[in-house]
Symmetry: C2
């Protein structure tokens, strides 16, 4: 696979295969755009019908070119694409954009045709972009290799590089972000059906590209999803934030999974887990991309999540407070020193609390701004500052901007501005802030959201730095692999728990009884009362089959329960293969949680945690991480669900043994990795979490094999 992607973005020569003399058509546009934006390399239109196109010499075939172009654009009909791609391969073209549609997006024959293209690309080691895409813009070098109305605009180059799986919409995003949003792009590429260079390949390249500071991505889904972890790690290390727009969140229908974990672990849940693990910032609209991108351009990250707000008009401070608190930030508690300092000059009808209201008194004394900003900035309890300037415009706006810029130049703390004047009435002030890379927003809401996004990213960086030497334990258990060897379908409780025990996960005391007498003997050994359950890989829903009895109190009851369970199991499924009846200790007083594994086709093994019963199933209040996880990550998983207070000791209950729970999640994650070739899904439901210090116990378990 090619990795010299800088050649793709800045090719010294470009062939345009199927170039049309009608410069309005799709096959005519690329040459027109390359010429009009002043492309500096060699251009080779290829079309046997023409002598020249738009004044450029036209070549009859790729073979006839005097050199191998560094990039070829294929604009011919789908049926002719394979031949053209082969020609490129033979000529030694390193990168080819295939614009043509008519491949996997059509299904059927299109899929086969696309496979053929992939084979050709592999054979000749061509980096293919597309098919069914809209090309690329490198605004920095004036390479406009594509079609569409947005190619007609000029773009001031910036430091955002973006890859999009959607062609038309992707370029709309660039156009609106760069020209209306004030977030200039460096490079933009659309990948279409991605038979060659993929979204993640481009992201990896943007991380390496010294001129790219911020990475934008628009995806419907990636084939090499687990690679997001690796790409995310590299981006964190390079200090290049990723803004990820993942679409297609509407789940289509129900999956036929055996476990709750797999049912809840749809693609979006795993994407979100990966984003969380690697500090990838999710965006959900063009405005988010613009707002967060502008925030990140400042290159200042807050050291904590405590915000101080300064406003010249009370009302808007409430709005921003709502927004940042809802998104996990805190309002800073100003120190007594700061408050005393503020009291020296903030008018008495203002406020020295947080938000600090300096009031319209700034009209009479502009130094108020500098002094207030300075006092707040000096407070060690403040990590970042937002200033709300209402609709200030004209000359006073310019002066206020200058005061802010002066303070910002001397501090590492991010300063964000909410400023509601229209662009038309405060162009100098806004221009000065832009030049100083001080983010500003028309509404306190947008300003608060951008702040929260940057704060979240900064926290992810701190967390990853703090945990960078943590290692997820690796546990190899050939015995467990052997136990599962050859098994297919569902593995029932007794055998599943033996696998868990291999990884040090605590399970209930239990015995599998094949006869009534054996059941009684087992119960006497374990101690009364006991739980009794049918064991059959054909019966996953034991309770619904009435094949579970709890609190069986004596030998006679055990004997009766044994018969009853077998009778009910047969009634539920006449042809069920039954291993026996499991006789098990009754575990009292634990909090029921569910933990599990889903081994996703794209993401590989992931672990889930949630409270038991309807919390997971109905309310979907669960957390996911891609395995393996460390102890710190396990704790984050536990603490991030809404129901966490239940474990921490809500409603007068004793706090549960969260340490043991976290330890068990880590072991489960190690199991998930060790058995990833065998196990498709696994639920421990319930895992009983005892009061602090008393551990956990797996009370039931189910494994579904990969095949």
């Amino acid at each position: 696979m090619r990795t010299d992607i800088e050649r793709f973005f800045s090719p010294k020569s470009i062939a345009i295969i199927g170039a049309s003399q009608d410069l309005v058509t799709i096959s005519g546009q690329p040459l027109k755009h390359l010429l009009s934006h002043g492309y500096k390399g060699k251009l080779y239109p290829v079309n046997p019908k023409y002598q020249d196109v738009a004044g450029v010499k036209c070549w009859p075939s790729l073979e006839s070119l005097p050199e191998a172009p560094e990039l070829a654009l294929i604009l011919v009909n789908a049926s002719r694409v394979p031949d053209m791609l082969t020609s490129c391969g033979k000529k030694g073209v390193p990168y080819v954009i295939i614009f043509s549609s008519g491949f996997s997006e059509m299904g059927g024959a299109g899929v086969t045709a696309q496979q053929k293209l992939a084979e050709i690309a592999r054979e000749y080691d061509i980096g293919v972009i597309g098919p069914n895409c809209q090309g690329m813009i490198n605004a920095a070098d004036g390479v406009f290799a594509g079609f569409g109305s947005v190619f007609g605009s000029d773009y001031k180059p910036g430091s955002v590089s973006m890859v999009s799986q959607s062609g038309g919409f992707g370029f709309s995003v660039m156009n609106l972000s760069s020209l209306d949003g004030g977030l200039p792009f460096r490079q933009m590429v659309t990948t279409g059906n991605e038979i060659g260079v993929s979204t993640l390949d481009f992201m990896d390249y943007f991380i390496r590209d010294p001129q790219t500071d911020i990475i934008g991505t628009y995806i419907e889904g990636v084939k090499d999803a687990r690679r997001i972890l690796d790409t995310g790690d590299k981006a964190l290390a390079a200090g290049k934030p990723i803004l990820m727009w993942k679409v297609g969140n509407t789940e289509q229908g129900q999956k036929a999974a055996a476990s709750h974990t797999a049912n809840l672990g749809g693609a979006m849940a795993l994407y979100k887990a990966a984003f969380k693990q690697k500090g990838i910032i999710q965006v959900e609209d063009i405005q988010d991309l613009v707002d967060y991108g502008r925030a990140l351009r400042s290159n200042k990250l807050p050291k904590g999540n405590r915000l101080a707000i300064i406003t010249i008009s009370g009302g808007a401070g409430i709005l921003m407070t709502d927004e940042i608190v809802a998104r996990g930030m805190q309002m800073a508690q100003l120190s007594a020193t700061t408050v005393a300092k503020l009291k020296e000059f903030v008018p008495s009808f203002g406020s020295v609390g947080n938000p600090v209201d300096v009031t319209a008194a700034i009209f009479n004394d502009l130094t108020l701004i500098n002094r207030t900003l300075q006092a707040i900035n000096d407070d060690p309890g403040v990590d970042c500052i937002a200033m709300i300037n209402a609709s200030l415009q004209g000359e006073i706006a310019q002066k206020v901007a200058a005061e802010i810029i002066a303070v910002a130049a001397k501090t590492d703390k991010p300063i964000f501005i909410s400023w509601s004047a229209r662009d038309a009435v405060a162009p100098e002030a806004y221009g000065a802030l832009d030049a100083a890379r001080i983010p500003h927003y028309k509404s306190p809401v947008r300003c608060g959201r951008a702040l929260a996004a940057v704060s979240w990213y900064a926290e992810a960086r701190r967390r990853n730095a703090a945990q960078k030497n943590d290692k997820a334990p690796v546990i190899s258990r050939p015995a467990a692999q052997a136990m599962l060897k050859g098994k297919t379908g569902d593995v029932a409780e007794y055998a599943a728990k033996q696998v868990l025990a291999e990884y040090g996960i605590a399970v209930t005391k239990e015995e599998l009884a094949k006869t009534r007498d054996a059941a009684v003997a087992a119960a006497q050994k374990i101690g009364f009362p006991v739980a009794m359950k049918v064991q059959s890989s054909d019966i996953s829903h034991k309770t619904e089959a009435k094949a579970v009895k709890l609190g069986v109190a004596n030998a006679a009851d055990v004997a009766a329960a044994f018969d009853d369970i077998l009778k009910n199991a047969k009634a539920w499924k006449a042809d069920a293969s039954i291993d026996g009846v499991l006789v098990q200790e009754m575990v009292g007083d634990g909090t029921e949680v569910i933990i599990g594994i889903t081994n996703d086709a794209l993401f590989g093994p992931a672990v889930m945690f949630g409270l038991g019963g309807i919390f997971a199933e109905v309310l979907k209040d669960v957390s996911f991480r891609l395995a393996p996880i460390t102890l710190a990550m396990a704790r984050e998983m536990i603490e991030e669900i809404k129901g966490y207070p239940v474990l921490a000791g809500a409603r007068g209950k004793a706090p549960a043994d969260v340490d043991a729970l976290a330890d068990t999640l880590v072991k489960l994650s190690a199991l998930a990795v060790d058995l990833k070739d065998q196990v498709a899904e696994l639920d421990i439901n319930p895992l009983l979490v005892m009061p602090r210090g008393l551990g956990v116990k797996a009370a039931d378990a189910l494994i579904r094999m990969k095949s």
Copy 2:
């Protein structure tokens, strides 16, 4: 209280009390703005220092004016405001805007000073706006009575009228919405501290105003909150949607309420309940206001929530689908007839599913747009249509707009457009859509959100129309009022349940036993096993006091439990006044829910519903309605919580008796109204909901009295 608010917005004469010759200052600006915007009435600057201001004759005092002006603006220092207001009263001025600050927003003496103003206003029947506000703009009549930079702009009058409690930010919203957002305003007023004409007074006026179609509101909180129901009703009847921006959602600290209902029923929960009950559309940013306002200007409401999407570029359809499904709309299922029709002309590489992808083939055949729109519009399974036009610009954009406008003119179904071209490159197309009142948005996300908001509003209107003859039952129970008479603090379970029973709410069989022997006798009468609980208005948390025993199985155990409960109760609170021990039937097999009443100082009585235990307390998965409620509203409350599937029969459980639960909620709401002068809070926790047909039973209850 004055209601002739049209005089306020269109006064024939205005006095400016404290007018300054320095037109840049706050007291100089109003005259400047009135003059520059061509105010047509008489202007009377009042200031004993000047002969004239800005060329207008200046008067020494209000008394000296030749007539009573219809509006006076007071711009003097706080200390002089009472005298000026009194002068206005004596002169017979109907409306006064007090701009001056220094009243309740300062606390202390400011509060007293403000009360004085309110008294003067009442004495002379003056409609006071403010104090501490920024004035008013009536764009339709050119009345610019206020100060601030946004008063310098010209506004094309529209049909949106807005009232804002924030001055500075409110006018920013008008400025950005009208001039950048393309949502022209008719009137805008800021109310500041609201001692006279309130937010709701203005909303009521906007409903009456024939020129206002859409009502905007920005509030931190209203004093007459329950009036929102009445105002909402009138707005629904008049077909004038209300866009409400409620800020201040960050809850400050914990309330010291006895009941879960009151703890969960913070201001925001009750505002949201009121909005839901009356179809008031909540907005959370300027962009929401603009987007939803533009959507509502079309004056077409969908008859259902089924959307069909037509796109010329696949990707963006996914985005809109995500958005509308997440907000409660559905993707329409196109009929076989429609699909057959579409197949006649949609290209084979497009899609005739929903979203319908007509592809870039429209470039070759523009009639595709008309034909596709027409076919979709004819489908009875489609309630509204969204069309996604990517970045089409220039001439083709104009033609596409014309095609859309032609279809839209002949249908009642709303047609929304997502169109990502910048304003600068498709001005004619956008202008034509605006003139035809066809809403268009730069991103599919914003378009989807606006559609969902309109669909939600349309549904609220349908619901209110369908239920308009439903009456909430009125239950008057003098006996219950007598039971509670003279009680203060908490009323414990036994007595509380007797009150519930008066309203027909089913309670457990139980007896209050004062002696051990009485407890045994009661248990024998009720039947074993029984539950036993201490009864004391000093012990609200009986379980935590270990003063509850469940499943007590025989007479000896009852006797022992009696002693134990009293001992533990004393240990928990030595000086607790104990009424006895409640002996109660054990109710099996019900689903635990919690229902209750909070009697809010501003909203009056409201009822709550949620699942029991941590669902309500930790996850806050509850619903509220302001009482009284009808049976249909009770059903909505039950169905809207996330945990509803638990009652509907999730996880193999029998469906619960939701009919009985809804009936009980209605009775509780009637109780809330009947006892609203006595009861501050009430929890039934748990209410056990039996399987369908078997009713409900209140297993525990607590009342907190108002005093």
